[in-house]
Amino acid sequence: MMTKDEERRTNSERVPASIRTTSLLMLVMLLALAALTGYWQVARGPSLTARDDNPRNVLAERLVPRGAILDRNGQSLAASQNSENGYVRYYPERAAEPVVGYYSLRYGVGGAEATFDAELRGTAGRTRMDAFKDELLHRIPPGHSVQLTLDLPAQQAADTALGDHAGAVVVLSAPEGEVIALASHPTFNPATLDDDWERLRADASSPLLNRATQGSYQPGAAFQTIILAEAISRGLAHLTDTVPSADAPVTVGDATLRCAAPPAGETLAAAFAAGCPAPFAMLADKFDARGMAAAIGRWELDVAPDRLGLPAHVSVIAPETLSNTQATRDLALGQGALTVSPLQMASVIGAIVNDGHPLGAPHLTQGPAPATPALPIMSSEVAGAIRAALPAHGGLAGQTALAVGGENQLAWFIGFAPVDSPQWVIVVLLEDGDGVTAHQIAALVNAKLMAP
């Protein structure tokens, strides 16, 4: 039995032990706090700062003197101007939207604004050391201007000529493959994108879609160039072959295919020039499935245009879709499983213009072309023969063709100018139109291109 004094002493000795335990516990709590703080600040830092609801990203963006986007003659298509709220992006030329795209604090970047973001921001081409120093010292590198191959007058002409039609116009330079004009309708206004975004996304006419590069259309009679080049190369047909009743309509499923214009004779060349389907339906029967697949593969429709930098449609050619003669025939008529974008059709006609060699890969800025020379798709004789078969009016040569896309009649014009020494390939697509209108639009654009 302890005395009271002993008890008291024991107690006062016991107290420091419990103090030590308490202080240890508090240290463990603080250690847990330090560890969790380290987790948020280091391990989760990048994912936290990248969140959409981090207002710093918008605040920082307003301080960036973003470079201008210029056309090939130095005309401004997009520029940043300083205001009391920081830099604001201006778009002096609405016609250039499908190429220039948009720059939004809320919805990010699109088009060339996205493709050349690093250059425009001034972060491209920095050494790692410079990038680190800029980051450390909160220095904002000045943005660099980007000069496009786009020609503003041609772009404006394409935009104006397209008018209210839903569709696209593509002009590439031959043989380089520079994008001279790239119009797509309907489109949007990048200056009011933040306000319009929800409406634009909900719009059934897809204004945010760049029809020239991303559109996925039935080529219809515009596909005849590919079939014809292959058939002539293999000796399956000649342009001088006589084709009786070339203007006969052809039915594919529910759709009825017709000539875009009355043929000017009874030869295969005349049928091709008028975009008549009947001779090509017969020609298709001379191909077997493997031959057809090989013919199409040569045109590299399934290869993405990497040099362009814009999102683009890539054709899918599944061998099993060619398993029967009907599928092969549909394909040859341009109404099968294969769909193309206007940009792809520009490359197709480009090979005809370029003596059988593929056109340079489509691109928006000057730069070194890929070193590896591309294999020819056809001989220069075949290309020359097809070029000669295309009808020419007023300095513009090309084929007008129709296709059926769902409920609508698609109208294509694929051609080139000038007729004697081609400098440009021109493709027009109308989602609901006739061959005459497509040809007229191409002629209007060509008139601007030819103007001094």
């Binding site: 008890e7 016991r14 103090i19 030590r20 603080l30 969790l36 703080t37 948020w40 969140r51 710093r56």
Partner: protein
């Protein structure tokens, strides 16, 4: 070997311990002054602060702590040399943060500093046996409770809001006092006195129920009273933070006095049960718990603050954006509730770890002083105050970092608020008293 022989260059008359202790404190205070001065100069250069305001607040801060340092040499020559410099650095950093985050409040916070340090000096100048605090525990406690009760009648909210009128207007300088901050200290002092006096009952056993032995009544009764008080706080003020702080400080002191871990387990159970009921009945408690458990789905709604706090911390990375270079003000009420996150953004992990280490040093020195004290009252007071400061800092920093649900308690020394600074510096004064080796009863 005598001290005089080991350090022959020192005059024989001076005591080495006293000299080195004061010198350490002085050297550390100069380091703190360099940090605070650099911070204010930076903010001035960035044009976030006028030269006059920066200079004035630095001079007031530096002069207040210099005078305190000099007078403490007279009052408590053998005090712990780390307590004051850490408090000086933290409160100076607090001034820098207020200058950065809410410059409009800088003058008011600066004005509080000499007042708070006067209170610290008054505490340290008082007789060293602390009888004035120990003997009149009920007088002090009821004084504190009266002040708190006064807020129910004449309470105001400095922001002019008609809710949460927890302040009393003090004097003509439009300084506002929050009595609950002072009550926390009086409560720790009261408990220290009560538990020290009843310590002989430590081995007495309580009533038995079957195989289980209940705690002795002197512990059981206050435990239940405290639990009731904490729950009352929760219900009346919806103040989760204050309830947690009061209750867990109490539990820690009960454990320190009794060495019975059973009280902690039992108390924790009671708290969780009470919190469970509060979660179901009080929407604000439910909100805080929900947004802690999973804030991401409601990042733009109810969990906006905590998610923004975490983004601010993530923005800081390891070295931080640099003082005045980040955007911590996008976090709502950053200057009072999210100073830790603001430091995380601009000073990085280095800064947040520095804050955690400074608080660790502060409470470890407090616990050390308590362990070296002989008188039970001094032991309990020192350990209780160290626990109170440590818990309060942990609760709000843990809330910022999503370790625990967010509560609105102030981060001692660093948050904007005069009452919080006052109670923190009075606590430092009491810890200095406890740490002094000439304290009677050692």
């Amino acid at each position: 070997m005598t001290l005089e022989n080991t350090r022959p260059w020192l005059p024989a008359s001076v005591r080495l311990t006293a000299i080195s202790s004061a010198a350490i404190e002085r050297a550390l205070l100069i380091l703190a002054a360099l940090f605070v001065g650099t911070g204010l100069v930076l903010l001035t250069l960035l044009a976030r602060l006028s030269l006059v305001a920066g200079l004035l607040s630095f001079v007031v801060w530096a002069a207040s702590f210099a005078v305190t340092h000099i007078l403490l040499g007279r009052f408590l020559p053998e005090r712990d040399p780390l307590l004051l410099p850490v408090a000086a650095l933290l409160s100076g950093w607090g001034l820098v943060e207020i200058a950065r985050l809410a410059p409009a409040f800088l003058a008011r916070q600066t004005l509080w500093l000499p007042i708070c340090l006067s209170a610290l000096l008054a505490v340290t100048a008082a007789p060293r046996d602390l009888r004035w605090l120990r003997r009149y525990r009920y007088t002090w406690l009821f004084g504190g409770l009266l002040l708190l009760a006064a807020t129910l009648v004449v309470g105001v909210n400095p922001s002019g809001a008609s809710i949460a009128r927890l302040w009393l207007r003090a004097g003509p300088l439009s300084l506002y006092l929050q009595p609950s901050e002072i009550l926390k200290l009086l409560f720790v002092a009261y408990l220290s006195s009560y538990l020290a006096e009843k310590s002989e009952l430590i081995t007495t056993v309580g009533p038995r129920i079957g195989r289980f032995r209940l705690p002795a009544l002197p512990y059981l009764a206050p435990l239940l009273v405290m639990w009731g008080l904490a729950m009352l706080l929760l219900a009346s003020q919806e103040d989760l933070g204050a309830a947690v702080l009061f209750f867990f400080t109490f539990l820690a002191m009960l454990y320190i006095a009794s060495s019975q871990a059973g009280y902690v387990v039992g108390g924790l159970g009671l708290f969780l049960a009470g919190a469970g009921v509060a979660y179901r009945l009080i929407s604000r408690v439910a909100l805080r718990v929900d947004t802690w458990w999973n804030p991401w789905p409601e990042a733009s709604g109810r969990a906006f603050q905590i998610v923004q706090s975490l983004i601010a911390m993530g923005t800081g990375g390891i070295i931080g954006q640099g003082l005045g270079q980040g955007s911590p003000t996008v976090v709502p009420v950053v200057h009072s509730d999210f100073v830790y996150a603001a430091i995380g953004e601009e000073f990085g992990l280095i800064g947040t770890l520095a804050v955690v280490i400074l608080f660790s040093v502060l409470i470890l020195r407090g616990f050390r002083a308590a362990m070296h004290a002989r008188a039970p009252f001094a032991q309990l007071l020192g350990a209780g105050l160290a626990t109170l400061i440590g818990l309060q800092a942990w609760v709000i920093m843990g809330g910022n970092a999503r370790l625990i649900p967010l509560t609105g308690v102030a981060l001692p020394f660093l948050s904007y608020g005069g009452s919080s600074l006052l109670s923190s510096l009075i606590a430092i004064g009491l810890l200095l008293q406890v740490s002094d080796r000439q304290l009677p009863g050692r």
